[in-house]
Amino acid sequence: MKKIIYFITGAMIMNINLYSNNLNIPHYGNVEFKPPVVKPLILDNGLKIYIKKDATLPTVRMEVLIKTGTVYDPQEKAGLGSLFFEVLRNGGSKNFSSDEIDKKLEYLGAEITTSISPEEASISMFSHKKDFDEVFNILSDLIKNPAFEEKKFELKKQEAIEMVKRRNDNPDRQATREALRIFFGKNHPYGMRSEIETISKITVDDLKAYRDNFIIPNNMIVSIAGDFDENEMNNKIKKEFGDIQMGDVKLPDIALPQTPDTRTVYLIDKPLKQAFVVILNKGIARHDDREYPLTVLSEYMGGGIQSRLGNEIRSKRGLAYSVYSYFSKRNKAGFIMTYLGTKPESVNEAIEQVFLEMEKVKTDKIDEKEFDMAKSEIINSFVFRFQTQSALLDEIASYDLYGYKPDYLSNYTSRIDAVKIKDMVNSAKEFYDTKNSQIFVIGDSKKFAKPLENFGKVITLQED
């Protein structure tokens, strides 16, 4: 197995160590790792295939990425996408009943799994190389001829309803979900959630229509790595997928979300031992060059125990075990989320600290070492996203699905390296708009040391 292209130019970049030389830690430069640009094979029907042999283990991994996502669910049938992929996987196909599929896969220790997130979905398989044909045969029949067996449809629908009933069991997850829902709006696709009524309305015909709309070759990207002959594998995929008809994908239009403009505090009063705080600010959509300074800012501010928030809230004050801040991009808009869990008594103090740090980074009082460290961490740990051939191709396929240029990944670390302190400060000025932050708290308000009103208008919500 050949290594993929990389260079370590420790000697060339005279990067002095920022921390502790009591130990005389050797000087290392930045890891200069560039994932290769891989050209996909494109079939006549528009299906893209990223393929690489990797004989490290006698196995094969394949992922079929689909451009869809939970944000494209019709509001009155929210939950459709999730249910579709559950029933696709579990509802059998023309040539195999669901029971046959389960038995076959479990006997072989093979896997076919489906998943969906806000803006993508995937159907993946894993098998021993000797079982590949058999498992791939099932996978392609599920993709081409799903049966959506009535019994499995009902089962998965009930499970989805049960999950709605259980959605508030874990308050930490509840806090992040509900905060985003308020931030983007309950009726906006980025904020909406599925309900018992919306799931109940979904029919098998809806699943069929969903398949006709999304499961078409020009809307899918295949990535496959494992112990096989590349030409042979290409032919297998062509044979199975080459005859699927291409079509017009109707991705519903998503309106720009109207995120709230004045700082407001939302509270769900719940007698819990710990309170959960989520602070949201506007972020950026995909394909926005402001992501590079914002990435450095997020790492500097909330990327771990050594970050500003980790330092001040966890390490120095012992106020939280879990505290972090990150940003997330979607196609139309994004958000910056700051999260922490603290005892009810210190909710106010912790929120104050977050805002204090957000203000501090807008001034010129930046700890230069910490700034350099944040950049080094992003650059030097970049390589870990590509630890196997399969991870590498999945990553490339995913950026392709979102329409990034083929050199996005190979230019990534140099774009980060180019970020200067003033860029980060400007980014903070632009994005840490604390006057308009939306604060969401789940906790036992009787125990709060100070009223939440200190931060703005408080709206108490009933959990549902």
Partner: protein
């Protein structure tokens, strides 16, 4: 159906696993062992004179290396009144050393020791029935003053900062009942930095910020107390075990955590954090010869010592069923634990097979019956040995009711399905399925370097042999249908079980 044979699947002799003869010879000269049986991955083993064991596997797709340092010390090694100490030390291992995190350790140390004296006084005052609040207030003020003074000499979270600058990935640690493991992944060229930092970390810990970190652990504890899943597991262990330390929560009882002192952590460290109690597993783009040289350079002077025996109370035999109902603001769920005979018992392979046949996967018996046919359960799962492997532990079944089903009826159905084993012994298909999955999981476990490093270190340090998983596979292959019926009849009985219901509070 016939057993699918995978004998050759672990012949990992292509590409990354083939070692140059020359290298192999050099390694042997150094005293290392290179695994030559193609049934196993080509792991290189080496032992330092002080007892530290090094395990290595070369895998070089990208220039990264994954490390796991595993100590045989965990929750079971805490003494009465100091539950949570193993976990507390794990947190302390991130708080720097005499060289990392300080501007002047000599001066800082004097303050840290003084803080310990104050905290010890606070602790004993706090434990009194009638507390002198005035005294406590003064002590706390003194503590704050000293903390501010210590801060002048400190470089906050410097260990994290150094590793971040180097490009760490997955820097973390885990404390369980049986072990404490420290993990990290780094770009391959930074191995010497790893050895420098880790040897200092385990030879010269400073344990600064102990009492602030105690507050952090309290927050961790509070977080767990909002999680119904976590609560049900803790309740299971604390009720199933009455004398053995598996009874104690790994994070510790709240009162114990509140009174842990830094000198307790030093005593604990001195006893258990010795090279003869550790294994270091390194997987990735490595040069094994250089790696051994670095291990010798940085770890050879780490002093070994005899680990004196701890008197781990043997759990008395359970004679009656225990049912615990916990009221909590979440939907209901159920877990039940049956005492198992211990991982090295001859009955264990059959219990491992029984767990999968019973409840794991959509072709398992409980899933088919309760999730699909009767529509009563949301999920099912079973684990043959939890919360640990060093001592006899529990065979656990977990599930949750769906729709209108109540947790009691779900429980009855689970027990009914278990009793069905006698009339309906496992088919050869069911047993082969388990064996096939066990085999393929061994291969899958090699995909992630970090995961594999953890497996190697765990197997070697806790189970006594890095090949433990492969050896267990051989035992599982010998399991027959009647063995499964026998162990199910013997262990999965009402009088041998503890059951926890989470019931929704209104």
């Amino acid at each position: 159906m016939k057993l699918v044979m995978f004998f050759l699947t672990l012949m990992l002799s292509q590409g990354v696993y083939s070692m140059e003869k020359e290298t192999a010879n050099e390694l042997k000269k150094m005293g290392a062992t290179v695994e030559e049986n193609p049934q196993y991955p080509q792991v290189i083993s080496y032992k330092l004179k002080n007892g530290l064991k090094i395990l290595m596997l070369e895998k070089n797709f990208v220039p990264t290396v994954s490390y796991t340092m595993m100590f045989k010390v965990g929750n079971v090694d805490n003494i009465q009144g100091q539950t949570g100490l193993a976990h507390m030390f794990e947190h302390m291992a991130f708080k720097g050393t005499a060289n990392i995190g300080t501007k002047d350790y000599e001066k800082e140390k004097l303050i840290l020791d003084r803080i310990d004296e104050i905290q010890s006084e606070i602790s004993s005052e706090d434990k009194k029935e009638l507390r002198d609040e005035e005294k406590l207030k003064k002590l706390n003020e003194e503590y704050k003053k000293l903390t501010d003074e210590a801060e002048k000499y400190q470089i906050r979270e410097e260990l994290w900062k150094i590793y971040n600058e180097l490009g760490q990935h997955n820097l973390n640690a885990f404390t369980s009942n049986d072990y404490t493991g420290y993990v990290i992944e780094l770009p391959a060229d930074r191995m010497e930095a790893y050895f420098k930092i880790e040897s200092d970390r385990f030879k010269n810990p400073a344990m600064r910020d102990f009492y602030k970190e105690r507050d952090v652990v309290h927050e961790e504890l509070r977080m767990y107390e909002t999680n119904p899943n976590r609560i049900s597991w803790d309740k299971l262990f604390s009720n199933a075990f009455i004398a053995h330390p598996y009874h104690n929560p790994v994070i510790g009882f709240e009162d114990d955590v509140s009174h842990l002192l830094r000198p307790n952590a030093f005593a604990f460290y001195q006893k258990f954090y010795v090279p003869n109690n550790a294994t270091l597993a390194i997987v990735g783009d490595i040069d094994p010869v250089k790696t051994i040289k670095l291990a010798e350079k940085y770890f050879a002077d780490w002093k070994a010592s005899n680990i004196t025996d701890t008197n781990y109370t043997k759990e008395p035999k359970q004679i009656e069923e225990k049912i615990i109902k916990v009221s909590f603001p979440s939907k209901s769920s159920i877990i039940m634990g049956f005492k198992n005979p211990g991982i090295n018992s001859a009955d264990m392979p059959a219990l491992i097979v029984a767990a999968d046949i019973l409840a794991n996967g959509s072709t398992s018996r409980l899933y088919k019956s309760l999730v699909e046919e009767k529509n009563m359960a949301l999920y099912t799962g079973a684990y043959a040995s939890t919360p640990g492997d060093r001592y006899p532990s529990l065979f656990v079944i977990a599930s949750a009711p769906k729709g209108d089903t109540d947790v009691q009826s779900l429980d009855d159905e689970i027990m009914k399905e278990i009793s069905e084993f006698k009339n309906n012994p496992p088919t050869q298909w069911e047993i082969d399925k388990v064996i096939n999955n066990y085999q393929i999981n061994l291969i899958k476990g090699l995909e992630s370097n970090l995961e594999f490093a953890q497996t190697l270190a765990y197997n070697e340090q806790i189970m006594g042999n890095w090949k433990f998983s492969w050896n267990m596979l051989e035992k599982i292959k010998m399991v027959r249908s009647e063995d499964v019926v026998n162990v199910v009849t013997k262990y999965l009985t009402r009088s041998n079980r503890t059951t926890v219901y989470i019931v929704e509070s209104k």
